[in-house]
């Protein structure tokens, strides 16, 4: 990799926001960049190039911009933070992902916590509902907490502070040994169900509440938007202004993009681990039972191990016509058989969408998604 001093020189004098976590890095980085003014105002690594070389390149490409918003691979946060002296560090969530490449998630979260502790001047914005994320955030003296309903509590059974057992009661969690518990949220995603648009708002300190009205679908994006509004407020952008800027965002690097094809439309979704799939299943539940094409690969960038398929509640696909494809289609087919989900096999994800009439969702893990997005967009 390039010399860390190069990155430090490029970052000097800029206000740097670093975004890390297992899921939602690319989307939240894109949202924060947009909320802070967007293209021409903010340097950012658009293409998900989230290791030190990619961040260095993004700063080189925008020498005159004083704001920089960068997503950082969770394994590199310490290195990148040491070089860029960030004003804000955003910790989205930590869950199992690519155990064979990244390592065990508690170790990853502990190193992120070390990076947080090493930068006491950075404002840390972290997810209170996620045990490992809160453990890392608490290494800062005064973190800003974000909170919301969520459904993935895997990897959250052991206390990040004392290794004691953690119990969950709804959204709240607490360690039975040292008493560490979910911090109260400074910013929360809230819903007023009587409103016609779903009524989702970000509620902040001092009674601030702004409606989201996002074009991007799903609960995960509402949470990403809440993070974004919190970060923007820290950097002096009014919540109403930040929220308005997010409403025009319709896709992020092909994610959530809907493309037209003969006979219907295809929506592109990325899900590469159990927590990501939990979000996608929530999203699929929000609409009618449309056909779903699921593509799973296991190349280097995906992780070679596909046993995570067994941590995804694929039973929830039962109401959808399902097509299974990708290099690990046979393992996914076995998983769906045991889940009681009827399905058929296809050789190719994009071809499978073309064989379907009407609106179809195509869900791929990392390389499967990008292969399909390249063909379709």
């Amino acid at each position: 990799m390039l010399d860390g001093r190069v990155l430090a020189r490029l970052a000097a004098g800029r206000t740097v926001v670093l975004v890390t976590g297992t899921n939602g890095k690319t989307t939240t980085t894109s949202m924060i960049a947009r909320a802070l003014g967007g293209d021409g105002q903010v340097a950012t690594n658009h293409l998900g190039a989230n290791m030190p070389d990619g961040i260095t390149t993004a700063l080189l490409d925008a020498p005159d911009l004083t704001l920089a918003v960068m997503e950082v691979d969770e394994s590199y946060l310490g290195q990148v933070a040491a070089a860029t002296d960030p004003a804000v560090i955003v910790l989205l969530n930590f869950s199992r992902d690519q155990l064979d490449r990244v390592g065990e998630v508690r170790t990853v979260a502990r190193r992120v916590g070390d990076a947080v502790a090493a930068h006491p001047r950075a404002r840390v914005v972290a997810f209170a509902d996620d045990v490992l994320c809160a453990g890392a955030g608490l290494r800062s003296a005064s973190p800003l907490w974000v909170s919301s309903p969520s459904c993935w509590t895997g990897d959250a059974g052991v206390c990040p502070r004392c290794d004691g057992p953690v119990s969950h009661m709804g959204l709240r969690w607490a360690c039975g040994s040292c008493g560490l518990e979910r911090p109260p949220g400074d910013w929360a995603l809230v819903q007023q169900k009587d409103r016609p648009d779903g009524g989702w708002s970000a509620r902040g300190p001092d009674g601030v509440e702004v409606p989201l009205e996002l074009a991007l679908p799903g609960h995960a994006n509402r949470l990403n938007a809440t993070f974004t509004i919190a970060v923007a407020a820290e950097l002096g952008v009014a919540p109403a202004v930040a929220a308005a800027r997010l409403r025009g965002l319709e896709q992020v690097g092909g994610r959530y993009r809907t493309v037209t094809r003969p006979g219907g439309t295809t929506r592109l979704l990325l899900a590469k681990n159990p927590a990501g799939w939990a979000q996608v299943l929530d999203l699929l539940d929000e609409g009618p039972g449309r056909p779903v094409v699921v593509a799973v690969n296991s190349r280097e960038a995906d992780g070679r191990d596909v046993s995570w398929l067994w941590d995804v509640p694929f039973e929830r696909l039962a109401g959808h016509p399902v097509v299974v494809t990708g290099e690990r289609a046979s393992e996914l087919s076995v998983r769906l058989a045991y889940a009681g989900v009827p399905h058929r096999l296809a050789d190719d994800a994009v071809g499978a969408t073309r064989d379907t009439v009407g609106a179809v969702d195509l869900v791929g893990n990392y390389t499967a998604f990008h292969d399909a997005a390249r063909v379709l967009t």
Binding site: A156, S167, D311, S333, L336, H343, L345
Partner: protein, 251 residues
């Protein structure tokens, strides 16, 4: 008749990557045979039932493994189940917990539950990570075992333990350099194969079920599963070891 019960032990701490799938596979393979079956999940505050049919323990990181062994050390339910010979699958950390002792990364040696004559110490080299195949060494298994390895420990077998299989290619198995993989002792089958192992090895799943319930009726994969997948899922295990094991094949 009450349903056959598969117990999933402490998945909050022993549930790294898909281990719960092993319990789901066992229950579903019974249902596909017309046998009522349920998975009972033992959470942190629950007692382990003593009277279930099959027990499943999964993997976990060091801190989780330490929590699990202390939590299970005084479990009368698990002790009674193992005393009466209930078939038990133990993967990775689960295997190590059921051994005589294991040593974690910081050098602490922890007493195990002493159900398998094995001891585990940290390995010196890199973790062995990847898909692996192995030839079974146990009566009743004939199909090549398939799994995913991701561990760095070295598990040595004592005189009262037998290996489950011998790995092919560059697999590490137990890490002892002799290509041995897993362990069989009493009613416990221990393995380092993830995948989860029973989803990828239906013969091993049916071996555990047969030991618990006796001869099994033929298996019918439901409609809507592609025929190539259904063929792979069909029963391949034939009772080869104990014709009088038909204790409660009720269907």
């Amino acid at each position: 008749m009450s349903p056959a019960t598969i117990v999933l032990v402490l998945p909050e701490v022993l549930g790294t990557y898909g281990d719960a799938g092993n319990a789901a596979v066992l229950a579903t393979r019974l249902r596909w045979r017309g046998i009522d079956a349920e998975v009972r999940t033992v959470g942190w505050d629950d007692a382990v039932p003593a009277d279930a049919d099959v027990y499943v323990l999964g993997g976990g990181e060091d801190a989780a493994q330490m929590l699990a062994v202390e939590r299970l050390r005084d479990s009368a339910g698990l002790r009674h189940a193992l005393d009466r010979g209930a078939p038990t699958l133990a993967v990775c950390a689960g295997l190590q917990i059921l051994g005589r002792a294991f040593t974690v990364a910081d050098g602490t040696r922890v007493a195990g539950l002493d159900r398998l004559d094995v001891e585990t110490v940290p390995g010196r080299g890199a973790r062995r990570i990847g898909d692996v195949t192995a030839d079974p060494l146990v009566d009743g298994l004939s199909e090549l075992l398939v799994g995913f390895e991701n561990h760095g420990g070295v598990t040595s077998l004592g005189p009262d333990a037998a290996p489950l299989a011998r790995v092919r290619g560059n697999g590490a198995g137990n890490g002892t350099g002799d290509r041995l993989e897993g362990v069989v002792g009493g009613s416990v089958v221990g393995t380092y194969f993830h995948g989860p192992v029973l989803a990828r090895n239906p013969e091993l799943a049916d071996l555990l079920l047969t030991r618990a319930l006796g001869d099994l009726p033929p298996l019918e994969v439901p409609e809507g599963v592609p025929s190539s997948t259904a063929r792979g899922l069909a029963a391949r295990f034939r009772d080869r070891f104990s014709p009088d094991a038909a204790r409660r094949a009720g269907a």
